[in-house]
Assembly symmetry: C2
Homo-oligomer: 104 residues x 2
């Protein structure tokens, strides 16, 4: 198995109790992972000090919040959460898959 090439679809998983997280890759400076939500699931608004983060919605639609802004983000939307700015998933409106990139 290659350590450089990964199919995202091999790492999607959904659970009834809570959204799931999967690590795709990580190094000294950067992390890449997937967050998978069933409709109605959420991620509490939180912030990372000193860490920038983005989500790219790959499938589905979710109500996302960053700072004081909310958007119903569909596939193809990049959601940017700069270091220290509170962000989260208010509610997945459909079954949703998001790529997450974070500095480390």
């Amino acid at each position: 198995m290659s350590s450089y090439f990964t199919r995202g679809s091999d790492h999607t998983a959904f659970a009834g109790a809570k959204f799931t997280k999967a690590d795709l890759a990580q190094g000294a400076h950067l992390f890449a992972g997937l967050n998978c939500f069933e409709p109605g699931q959420s991620q509490a608004v939180h912030a990372h000090e000193g860490v920038d983060k983005f989500y790219l919605v790959l499938e589905g639609k979710a109500r996302m919040r960053v700072g004081a802004e909310e958007m119903d983000a569909e596939a193809g939307t990049l959601v940017w959460a700069p270091a220290g700015v509170p962000h989260g998933v208010v509610e997945a409106l459909e079954r949703s898959v998001m790529l997450v990139g974070m500095s480390r």
Copy 2:
């Protein structure tokens, strides 16, 4: 216009001469952008010291190289290029769009 929410499709652009790059977001620690390739276009193999990077192929198919490995990467493939490891796009096999995440 929101500074937190961006549609990737608003930033795709193709050019006959060379693959194109677009910035989607950047902070003190992280960068997100798009690379768009016409079939046959390439990105020379290169390395970033102290910077981790990934590509996520969003559309199309491209022959990607990281270190000594090559793969014809289709939509949904994450390509991980750790700091210092040479990487590039040997040849886009189809019109291709890639999300790029890089530490800063």
